[in-house]
Structures are given as C-alpha cells and as structure tokens.
Amino acid sequence: MAVTVNPERDVVATPMQRALREALYAGAISLGLFVLFIGLKTGQNISNELVLTTRWGLLVAVVVATAIGRFLYVAYGQPFLANQKIADVATGLLPASAASRFFQLPAFIVAVVLVVLLFALNNSLAGWVGPGAAGYLQFLRALSVIYVLACVIYYFRGFIHANFTKLGIAALILYPILVVAVLSLMSWSIVGGLQGSLKWVDNYGIQILIYVMLAWGLNIVVGLAGLLDLGYVAFYAVGAYAYALLGTQYGLSFWILLPAAGAMAAFWGVLLGFPVLRLRGDYLAIVTLAFGEIIRLVLINWREVTNGSAGISGIPKVTFFGLMTFNVSDPNYIAKVLHIAQSSAYYKIFLYYLILALALLTAFVTIRLRRMPVGRAWEALREDEIACRSLGINTTTTKLTAFATGAMFGGFAGSFFAARQGFVSPESFIFLESAIILAIVVLGGMGSLVGIAVAAMVMIGGTEVLRELDFLKQVFGPDFTPELYRMLLFGMAMVIVMLWKPRGFVGTREPTAFLKERKAVSSSFTKEGHG
C-alpha cells in the first residue's frame, strides 16, 4: 500500500472533546500563571519575620473556575454564537435576533414591577430580610433598572439613533431635576430628596462632565490635529491654580477668572508648543509628558507661591453671577433670597449646570471649528502633514492653534475644578489623570464627540458604580473594597474595547462639508496622525 490514510486525522473532534481539551489547557495555563500570585502569600509575623502563607484552596478554586469557564465557552458559547450568526444571516435580522430574544415584553414587565416594588419597600427591606439579603436585593434592583433602561433603548433604538444628540442634551439637562424628584418621592420630602441628590449630582454628574469636557478639549489636539499629548493635565493644573491663586489672593470673581484661566492655559500651550511642535510622534509624546511633570514639580516645590504639597484651600465658591451666593452666612444666600429651605444641594446643582454649559461650549466650539478652515487644516494635518505644506498651510501656526485651543478648554475645566473642590494640590494633577483623559479620547473614538462622552460616562461612571457594590462584601468578606479594583477593571475594559472596536466606540468620521449627501467616513480611511 502506497498511500495510507490515517483514520484519526479525518475524525473531527466533537465540541465536547475539544472543550474538555481546551479546558485542561486553560486550567494548566492558569495554574502556571497564578501558582505564585495566588497560591503563595508573603507576610510578616509578630516579630517582623517573613512568613509564607499558602493558599492552595483559593488557587484550586481559581484554576477550576478558569477551566470550567473555558469548557462552557467552547462547548456551549461558541456553537451558540455560530448558530446565531447563521440564523442572523438566514433571517436577515442581523442585529436584532439575539437581542429580541433577550429583551421580551414579559421580562420587561417583571423587571418594572420589581423595580417599583423594591423602590417602594426600600426602607423596610433591611428589617424584613436582614442587611445581607437587602444588599443583594439592592443589586437586583440595580440590575432591573439597567434591564428596563436597556429594553427601552432597544425598542426605541431607531428613534434614539436618529436624535441621539438632542436626547442626550435633554437627558443631561433634566438629570438633576429627575434625581431630586425621584429621591424626593422615595423619601416623601423635598429636603430629603435634595440631600440625597448630592451624591448623584456631584459624584456622578459633575465628575463625569469634568472628564467629558477635558476629553473634548484633548480631542482637539489628539483627535483632530493628531498630536499625541501626554501632558494635557498640565493645562488643567494651570487653570486650577490660576483660579485658586488669583481667587484667594485678590478675591477676584470666578466669572472674571474663568476666561483668565483659559487664556493663561492657552498661553502656556503656545509656550510649550513653540519648541515642541517640530517634534513628531513618540518624541512629541515624551516632551509633553515631561512638560506635565515639570508643571507638577513646580507646583510642589515653589512653596512661596503654591504652598507646595499642602495645596491651596479656601478657594472662593462660584456666585450666581454675583446676584446670589451659596454661602449660608451671606446676606444674599440663595435660600434667603428665594425663601426656600437651606440645602447644600443648590450649589452642587448649580455647579452641575455650570460644567454642563462649559462642556457644551467646548462641543459647540469644536463643531464650529471643524467646519472652519482652521479645523479642516487640523484634520488635514493629521492625515498628511507634507501635503498640507504643499498646499500653503502654515503647519506650525496650525499646530499651535490646536494646542492653544485644547489647552484653553483644559484651563476652563481646571478653574471649574478648583471652584468645585475649594481646594487644589499637586496630587490632583498626576500623570495618571493625563492617561485617563487620553484613554477616554481613544476609547471614545478620536475626533468623535458623542463617542468620547459615552466613553467618559462608562469609564468615570463605571469606577464610581464600583463604590455601590456593597453586597460584594457579603461574598468576599467585609475587608473587600471593590473600588480598589477599579484600575484592573479599567484596564480590562480598555483591552476588551480595543479588541472589539479598535478605533473606539465611534470610529467613523463626520465630514465637515458635503455636496449632495453627508456620508460618514469609515475608520479604515482616517489616520491617527504622527505627531
């Protein structure tokens, strides 16, 4: 016999066999990875000696969990996804089929009932089922809320897609009112509602909007002009310290210092830009990184002016355009003028609308600038700098304007930050902040305002949500603090998003002018820029 056919070659492994094999591999790999990380733990005993604790049980649990996870994914997950793909192609319901099975009306009604019940019984739950179970029920409530919202979004997706910007702005404007209304209903008192809204308006609303604004500002530099800036937080710091110093030393009003802080940050942007902008790519990134660090070190070490690491406290609050203030002791305190109950929530709500206005100003200016020659030149610069020069565009001034405009919005956000905190210190302007802002821009899709806003909401809101997951203490013990894992989750989320959508949430580019119809430009044609 000249030709022998190996019969085993022809037998295709069934999904079960394959799953078992892959589960074994996954288990072995995770064992190798985690044997030192999880299996062994170094610590100190009472006489300060190094002791080695072994945690074989936990290691086994992790390895088994990995193997089972891989098994389930290969045995059931992959065939399901493959079938789904075939079904999608056959029925033509490409995006709909899986989702319409998941979002069904009965489930929606059950979720709505759950939400209403759990909200209504919120205060008496802990007494009935104990604090542990109440934590789980709160988590269930949160999941139901998310499910209901997802259902609504899914069934009205056509409408939402068509009017996304308008709906988004309306939702942002109504957000504090809704929060106060819902919380007032829950506690049956307006004051209680105002008090409860502090967390939602301040920790979520304001915090997210600051990052939205910063990311929109950086988007001008990175997303439009294609200049990689790793030191953006420096301009934020310049704005914050400009308000903090001038406000505390000279008692100038926020409304004067806001434009001044923007102008100062823009000035520093130009100052940095002049020597730096002939550099390209990696070199530019390193020099901007160094600039960010220099500004921080100057703030730490120039004690006579900046008070060093101790920072500046007692930064004056923003007034209501000079008409009303938010200090209880002032004669024109807002509650006294309007004859309403005292609450610190008014200031937060006012700040919320202030940062919303500033962020929308950033977006408006960005949209306007993109349709102006300078904005087009920025994008052309990102696409091809040499071609720009061959068309008579002065690339140096074009880059400088991008740098200055981005820095100006960073300065606005900085002065707002100082006014909101009432305290600034160099701690707030570390490199990690620049990295987070840049990550938001990249995740959102460079150049896309909507994508960046969504990315900021997910990234900043997501890390805040981790604080809410108290029920995890029941699972992992009272020492477990989910906030500590936020950077891990942040990193995992970035890896997943970058694998799933390499150009960010919104990769397409909106053309700035059109002859017949406006067609979005696919991300495969746009470039990231080299400098």
Partner: protein, 366 residues
C-alpha cells in the same frame, strides 16, 4: 490667461542649482527655464534627481547653491530658495503633486479641495474669529470655495464621488484628484511628479486631456516629471533631460528624442545590442518603443518607477535619495567621449565595462 503678458515670458528660471546630501551631489549646476503657458517636462532615468529638483522648487529642500526665480503674471518675482516651505504655494503660487499620492484619505473629495483653499478661506473667516461668530463674509467665501471645488471636480470627472472619502477612490482617480486639489490653490505653476505613473492607457489619455485643458483654460504653466514617453511627447512643449543630476539635453520633444546623449542615458552604451541601436540614431521611435515595453534589463521596473518608495524617502529626510555617480557611469558623458575620440579602442571599452549596480542604465538605483 493675462493677455498682456507675452507668451514666452519665463515663469520659472533655475540657475546653477546644486543640491548636495553630504558628499553626494544629487543635482550639480543645473540651469533651465520653464516658459509661461507651456508644459515643460523633466525627464531622466531613475535616480537622475528629478524629484530632488521638484523638492527644491517647492521648498521641501533648501538647495545647496543656486537660484530659483519665479515670475508671477502680476510682475512680482520670488526667489523660491529663500521662501519658507508653506509660502511657496501661498505667495509664489506654485502647487505640486507627489510621486506617491498624498491625499487626505480620511476626508471627502470635497473636503480635500476645501483644504487646498485654506489661505483664502482663513482670510475670509477673519482668521477664524469672525467666522466663529457667523459673519456673512465667511459664509459667502465658503460658498464660493465649494463652487470652485465643484468646478475642479467636474474637470477631473469626479463630481459623482464628491462625498466619498478620498482613500476610497481607484488609483487613477486619486491622481486626478491630487491635480484638482493642487489647482484649487490657484497656482501659476503646477508641478506634477509622475502624474501618469500607474495609469492604464485610457486613464493616461484622460490625464493628457486634463493637463491640456488646465494649460489652455486656467493659464497655469505646468512642469512635470514623467517616465511615460507617450505623455511627454504628446503634451509637452519643452523637455529637459537629467542624468545623474546634470542636464544632458534641453529642447523641443523632437530634438530631445533624437539626441544621442539622451538615448545613451536611457539605453546605456555598453551593451553590444545597444551599440547597434546607437548607430541607427536616426530612428525616432527608439526611446518610445523601449519605454513602452520595458524589458527587465533596460526598462524601468514596473514597481520601482511607478511607485518608487514612500515619498518620505525623498522628502522627509535627506538621506533618502542617494545618487552615486560611479566613474564612467554617465552614459551621456561616454557618448561625448566617444564622439571626440571617434574610433574607440578596445582598451577603453574594457575600462568602461565594470559597472556598479547603481550604474545600470535604468531602474533599481532609487
């Protein structure tokens, strides 16, 4: 075209231009003139320094020596070697295209042409500030610029695809778009770096029509680098031939194609077959034939001449274009030498024989 300006007024004068990269002389003492309203072609084997000449004229390189004068139709004169890079298109009105196309691929065709009108629109928008507040002057200028863009899109036969990204266009259309974009800057001198490279005969013919149309209707003079002799011979009024950075011939297409120095530069003089061709110099189709159907030994490699490397090689940094003139490599010089000492001796031939790879007649030296 301004009728008061005489037709044969020189728009571009290149005098004693030299460009040295370290010890390499890419261009040595080159002088030529491009006349207003004419199409001047710059030809030569690969590595002859044509693109370097372009980069000097358009300010991407600062020449080591020499003077490049541009005379605009309004009478103003510019010394291009002294102007900053971006002011050459802006003030001296010289526009260029690139050997490997440099479009803004993520922007639509219309946007590409609007970017080209940047300086005009910048002024109209009051350096952004007035335009930001919606002054009507900018809106009017903006509408006018869209009209101009539409005009050139129609000329380039691309108006149907105005709202598509430039990167989505086929190759030939990208070439036409790049020319249209250059024309949107309102140039008086249009420099085209191998506009027909990579085009099929039909596209090449369309390009010829476009270039003739530009010459006749817009009043722009054209300076072009081209390997495709059918383009050069059909449309150019004047041809300058370079070899190893030196001018070896200059004149009308007819006179150039029969110049033995040019033929030698293109075909080489060392091979026996070419020697026989050289003896039949009277044959006018020699260049054309050998250029249309290049064989691997003599013709340009399809890839090396059409899309020779990224332009960063020739623009971004100066080490890119290396031209080493091996002793006795210049075929034109050999022709001169041969004609002066008419019957060549066998010993001379032996010295000319050893060739470095860069001394090949055409191709591969870039």
């Amino acid at each position: 075209m301004n009728a008061s300006v005489p037709m044969n007024d020189a728009i571009l004068q290149v005098e004693h231009l030299s460009m040295k990269f370290g010890g390499l002389v890419a261009i040595g003492d080159l002088s030529f003139t491009a006349k207003r309203g004419e199409i001047t072609a710059l030809i030569g084997p690969n590595g002859a320094g044509k693109t370097t000449v372009f980069n000097c004229i358009t300010g991407f390189y600062k020449p080591s020596e020499g003077m490049i004068t541009l005379n605009r139709s309004n009478g103003s004169r510019f010394l291009l070697e002294r102007l900053p890079n971006h002011e050459i298109p802006a003030r001296a009105k010289v526009a260029r295209t690139f050997q490997n196309i440099r479009l803004f691929s993520g922007m639509t065709l219309l946007e590409n042409l609007l970017v080209a009108q940047h300086n005009k629109l910048m002024k109209a928008s009051g350096y952004t500030i007035l335009g930001l507040f919606g002054f009507s002057g900018y809106r009017k200028a903006s509408a006018e610029s869209v009209e101009l863009a539409k005009h050139w899109l129609e000329k380039a036969d691309l108006v149907d695809r105005a709202d598509d990204p430039a990167g989505d266009l086929p190759y030939g259309a990208q070439r036409r778009l790049e020319i249209a974009r250059a024309m949107c800057t309102g140039p008086e001198l249009l420099c085209l770096d191998e506009p027909a490279a990579g085009l099929n005969p039909k596209e090449s013919a369309a390009l010829n029509t476009l270039l003739i149309d530009i010459k006749e209707t817009s009043g722009a003079s054209i300076l072009l680098i081209e390997h495709d002799m059918s383009v050069v011979m059909q449309i150019s009024d004047h041809v300058v031939v370079l070899e190893y950075g030196r001018k070896i011939s200059d004149g009308s297409p007819q006179s150039v194609r029969t110049d033995p120095r040019v033929i030698a530069a293109y075909l080489g003089v060392d091979d026996e077959e070419v020697e026989t061709v050289l003896t039949e110099v009277g044959d006018e189709d020699v260049i054309e034939q050998l250029d249309i159907g290049p064989d691997s030994a003599h013709g340009p490699g399809a890839s090396s001449s059409f899309m020779a490397g990224p332009v960063s090689d020739t623009v971004g940094h100066s080490t890119g274009e290396r031209i080493t003139v091996a002793k006795g490599a210049s075929k034109a010089e050999q022709v001169d030498a041969k004609s002066s000492t008419a019957p060549r001796k066998p010993s001379e031939r032996a010295t000319a024989k050893p060739k470095t790879p860069t001394a090949k007649p055409r191709g591969g030296s870039k």
